[in-house]
């Protein structure tokens, strides 16, 4: 079910990217509205659906952070005591007396029988739960809380589609590069370079969203994790590709040489995407070299912290602030690719699929506009030259084809 949903959304996003009108004609109005609404829905749901955990995760999370750190706990109000405490029952059916909860619940206009999300911290000295603030009353949906990730888990809806689209862009650019070598059409070169340019943009977006996430979960903006290395290499290749393009004046020569360069770079990219992550331990979920170590059962982390890159490199900076890393539950796959259906909550699956779909549409929309823009510029270049030489400026479609 999960695979069907996410895979279907991914395929549908790419099919819809090409199918009505392709990359060279304007997209129809319904298509644009679909892109806008799904993007808005992704942002709204991705940022808006509240996160609510249970009391056990509140205990676990306060362990590394001191008593004052509140954690969102999703629970229904069972009883309200006159001494300002309240009995709450969380989703695992654990009923707990929470001190200071009654006025907070009353202020929010909620009462007995309502489901609330409260910021609750666990006082380890007195072994009691203390309510800090009200976050939500009767939410329609909630996302489960992942200890160690918490609200940062929302980044998955933005970071992962960006990283995925880098690969889509790379694939499209290589396909059109091959076509432009075979058929020697200007359009193919324009499409290849537009896809590469957009790939570079999404590369930057994926790196930025990833770096921010890495700072707050792994302690450093940049750790030379194998996937970070891969995205760095792809970025360097895009940079070199455009440097090469700008160095050649002749259009046909430029198309051929840059296409060959892109195809040649498939080999290092394949190395960094498929071989290198299996050679060294990484921090991303699903990372693990062939000789990966068993997990420490208490913390669900490798017994010794993974060190990306060379084995002689120092561990990544200071310890992560939360005292726990992203907690890769399964060493063989991340939550997305894991075969375990419980690895990703159903609501998360829906939002994640929606984000893949809407980001694909956004990508293809921008790609479509930039391809048409560069074709227009190419045409203006030719007609401008024709006007200077005194010939009537032809506006025919095939003016953009090579002679």
């Amino acid at each position: 079910m999960k695979g069907l949903l996410i895979g279907g959304a991914t395929v549908l996003g790419i099919v819809l990217g090409f199918w009505p009108a392709g990359l060279m004609k304007p997209k129809p109005a319904w298509w644009r509205w679909l892109a806008i609404t799904t993007l808005a829905a992704t942002v709204l749901l991705g940022l808006g659906v509240p996160t609510g955990g249970d009391f056990r995760s509140a205990i676990r999370t306060t362990m590394g952070r001191g008593d004052a750190a509140p954690l969102p706990v999703y629970a229904s109000v069972v009883e309200i005591h006159p001494d300002s405490s309240a009995v709450l029952r969380d989703m695992t059916d654990t009923a707990v007396t929470v001190y200071g909860a009654a006025p907070i619940i009353a202020n929010a206009g909620a009462g007995k029988g309502d489901r609330v999300i409260l910021g609750i911290s666990f006082n380890r000295g007195r072994k009691v739960f203390v309510a800090r603030r009200h976050l939500f009353t009767n939410p329609l949906f909630t996302l489960p809380l992942i200890p160690g990730l918490e609200e940062r888990a929302r980044n998955i809806y933005f970071h992962v589609p960006c990283a995925w689209l880098v690969q889509v862009a790379w694939f499209i650019a290589c396909c059109y590069a091959l076509l432009s070598i075979r058929k020697r059409r200007v359009e193919d070169d324009v499409r290849a370079s537009a896809a590469a340019a957009l790939g570079a943009v999404f590369c930057v977006l994926a790196t930025l969203t990833g770096a921010i996430w890495a700072k707050f979960n792994w302690g450093e903006f940049w750790n030379w994790d194998p996937r970070q290395t891969a995205i760095f290499v792809v970025m360097v290749i895009y940079g070199a590709y455009f440097a090469l393009r700008s160095a050649i004046q002749n259009h046909e020569q430029r198309a051929r040489v840059s296409a060959v360069y892109l195809l040649l770079m498939l080999i290092p990219v394949v190395f960094f995407l498929f071989i290198y992550p299996r050679m060294v331990d990484g921090l991303h979920p699903g990372a693990g070299s062939l000789e990966s170590q068993p997990l420490d059962s208490a913390t669900m982390r490798p017994a010794t912290p993974p060190v990306p890159g060379r084995s002689s490199a120092p561990p990544s900076g200071q310890a992560p602030p939360s005292g726990q890393a992203a907690a890769p539950e399964k060493k063989d796959a991340g939550p997305i690719l894991s075969s375990d259906p419980d690895a990703l909550n159903p609501i998360k699956q829906v939002i994640f699929s929606l984000s893949f779909f809407s980001f694909s549409l956004l990508f293809f929309w921008i790609l479509n506009v930039s391809v048409r823009l560069s074709l227009l510029e190419r045409r203006r270049e030719i007609t401008g030259a024709a006007a200077v030489s005194g010939a009537p400026g032809p506006i025919a479609e095939d003016i953009v084809r090579p002679s």
Binding site: T229, A240, A247, V257, Y261, L264, P268, Y276, S312
Partner: protein
């Protein structure tokens, strides 16, 4: 070969032999024209000497670890390759002899011949670099010379493979020399990632058998980039 087409169908062995002959002819031509002036050889050798001297003077009497020595050797190897290996095709374009080469030899043997020359150049410069490092820099000791040699050999092959095809690209881009390191860096990076660690391990005394997997990977990558270069060379060499 073109003149064989009119006669009876050439046997596969004959075709291979003629391709091999053409490859060697291209390589011999490059060697001979090089030996006439010794321009590239001299400048490459001087580059190696200067690079190692700069390193030696910068490090001074400090004793460096084998990890840092391996990293420094790799930095020097990269820039030596960028300096020296581009000559093969850029020289052809500068002298205007590329046109003649295109007329007389098919693309495959041209590429293979240039690859051979670059292989020899990169092997010679990397070997010289390694020896000078060991001689001039304190701490750059090689405890397992056999595996050190194999690593240098395989990395030189990878350098030659990546640099030859990129030199051909640069030659088509109007000999923009500054582009050479930029374009070749992504193709060299897998070599660096694998090679620095291998070199460090060989310097700290680990034998060939203990790092056979990574050596194999280094070799496979070198062959893959050579083959990709061979397949793609046709497309940029033709007018």
């Amino acid at each position: 070969m073109g003149n064989g087409a009119g006669q009876s169908k050439p046997v596969a062995g004959q075709i291979v032999a003629s391709l091999l002959r053409q490859t060697l002819a291209v390589a011999r031509k490059d060697f001979q024209s090089e030996l006439r002036t010794r321009h590239a050889l001299n400048s490459l050798a001087m580059f190696v000497v200067i690079t190692v001297s700069v390193m030696a003077f910068s490090i001074g009497t400090e004793r460096i670890t084998s990890g840092i020595a391996a990293a420094l050797i790799w930095v020097s190897m990269f820039f030596t390759a960028v300096t020296g290996l581009g000559r093969s095709f850029i020289g052809e374009e500068e002298r205007g002899t590329g046109f003649l080469l295109r007329l007389t030899v098919p693309p495959g043997p041209t590429y293979a011949g240039k690859l051979l020359v670059n292989l020899a150049l990169s092997l010679a410069s990397n070997a010289m670099l390694g020896l000078m490092f060991i001689a001039m820099i304190r701490g750059a000791e090689v405890k397992a010379p056999g595996s050190f040699l194999v690593v240098v050999l395989l990395s030189s092959a990878g350098f030659a493979g990546a640099m030859t095809i990129i030199a051909a690209l640069i030659a088509r881009a109007g000999s923009k020399g500054a582009l050479y390191p930029v374009l070749s860096f992504p193709a060299i990076l897998p070599l660096i990632v694998l090679g620095v660690d291998l070199l460090r391990r060989s310097m700290s005394g680990i034998g060939i058998a203990a790092m056979a997997d990574d050596l194999l990977l280094l070799g496979v990558y070198s062959i893959a980039i050579m083959l990709a270069g061979y397949l793609l060379f046709d497309l940029i060499w033709r007018e």
